[in-house]
């Protein structure tokens, strides 16, 4: 039996146990946030300090990925799936800063003359480009980087 087969046999057993346990376990969390939230919420203004990681404060543009990879469902309580795909889609063409129109956020990437600025940013920190422009969203990159 190969390693991957063993891993997935264990995975299937765990998931099956979870699904079967779903008939008699603790109640699921709310699917949709019970209160409608306006703007960028500071979760800790209502919730315990436990929720500080999800505060949509000035650092949120940089830190939201760490929350999403732990539990995508938390995001989906308030956001549509399209909220992620709008920036992280496979073939997205409109810049995030354009799509948000007047919702100015200094953290939104690629504002102003980013065509020139990205040369310096890309040399200093190319790893920051990779999540959105490594294996996808490369249509615009391919014009010059052939």
């Amino acid at each position: 039996m190969t390693r991957s087969t063993m891993v997935f046999a264990a995975a299937l057993l765990l998931t099956a146990a979870g699904l079967l346990g779903a008939c008699a376990g603790p109640k699921s969390a709310a699917f949709v946030h019970p209160e409608k939230v306006q703007g960028a919420p500071i979760c800790t203004s209502c919730h315990d300090a436990d929720s500080a990681a999800s505060d949509h404060d000035a650092r949120w543009m940089k830190s939201h990925g760490a929350v999403a990879l732990r539990d995508q469902r938390t995001c989906e309580m308030c956001h549509q799936v399209s909220s992620c795909a709008d920036c992280h889609g496979n073939k997205e063409e409109i810049k995030p800063s354009d799509k948000r129109l007047g919702r100015f956020d200094s953290g939104t990437p690629h504002r102003g003359d980013y065509l020139t600025q990205h040369r310096a940013d890309g040399k200093l920190d190319p790893a920051s480009c990779f999540p959105c422009h490594g294996r996808k969203n490369v249509g615009r990159c391919g014009i010059c980087h052939k």
């Binding site: 100015f104 504002r111 003359d113």
Partner: protein, 421 residues
Amino acid sequence: MKIVTAFSALALLGAALAVGAPPATATEISLESRTYVLARGTDGENTHVLPYEYLTLNAEDLMQPGVYLRVGGWGRADLADETLGRKSNSELQYAFLGWRAPQRNAEARVGRVSLTAGVARHEVFDGLMLGSDLPAGFDVTFFGGVPVEVEEGGRSKDLLYGGRISQGRAGLYRLGASYLKEQNDGEDVREEAGSDLFLAPLRLVELTGTSLYSVADSKWARHDYRLVLGPFAKRVRLTATWASTDYTAYFKEPLNRALLPIEDAKHDRYGGEVEIVLGLGFTIAGEYAAFRAPDEGGSDGSTYGARLSWARSGATAGAGYRQVHGEAEEDRYQEISAHATKAFGPVHLSLGAEYVTYGVAINGETIATTGKLGLSYALSKSLELSASGEYGETPEFDREIKGLLAVLWRYDASIKKGGTK
């Protein structure tokens, strides 16, 4: 494909559980349309007029409680010249049927799934996702299917699968371990394992981070950690960051040729941020980051900046300064930016401007100036019109003019047995 077959069996199990639930009394449907018309013209270059249509459809309690549908996608045409080498383009971003159990947050999704879980970052595939909480603070997520390719190279013998298991206690800690493998035409192209961490051992102390290990290369691809202290007195928040990247292991199978892996090149980033709430709606923030690339192919350097922002009852304003200081003069620039927004009832007005000076002349220019004006009008709760215009004089374009019109429309309905609300 045996794995997909096994996942299918589990999906059927989930479906059976769903069917066992009492029928839903009403199905909630939400349809959203976003139409953008983007026009762009530059001196001596092509003109582009691009109508985009984004559609999303959500349906809750579809026949059975907890059964839901999510669909999202877009299409566009270019009414003038070709854009990115194509007259038209489109993407089905996601389209899946899901079921959420009333207990244990158990969930199943089948269709075109978009998933982020551990080392799986925005993976889009046609297949299955299954997840559930388990006793003792554990939870599991597993997925498998055929990855959606950005380039149309054929999807025969393509496969993506993996999962994440985590254990934790709400508000105190969560430790996750995850795995992902991708095959293209039957050949392994990616095999990654990783860990993710959330730790809040004390009040006002929070450590989060991830480590990514390339199984194929047998070495760490990237570590990325963030320590946040505060907010002290609800006003001061301090953040320290560290990231270390091995390009060879991290840049796996890039389609972007600018990110072809550089042999043995590594890169470290050390950073710090301070954010202080001053009161009366004012907040000031500063940040610094140092980059160290010990090998050929990378660039040492630093970035630092500060931003003063203000927000009060429907109005915001801000101004900031940022400097990027790379090793070579051509990798240096200073940026000054400012913005202001104000809501007047249903009308929302926004202004923004940026002024950049570059370390050396690029195409004979060292300065870029851009300005943007946006206006939106909410005709009703379900219909909003927006328009924005941007003008720029940059090293790449003597004059660049961009305009964007947008129409946002939402439709919500509750379909009850025997009628629509």
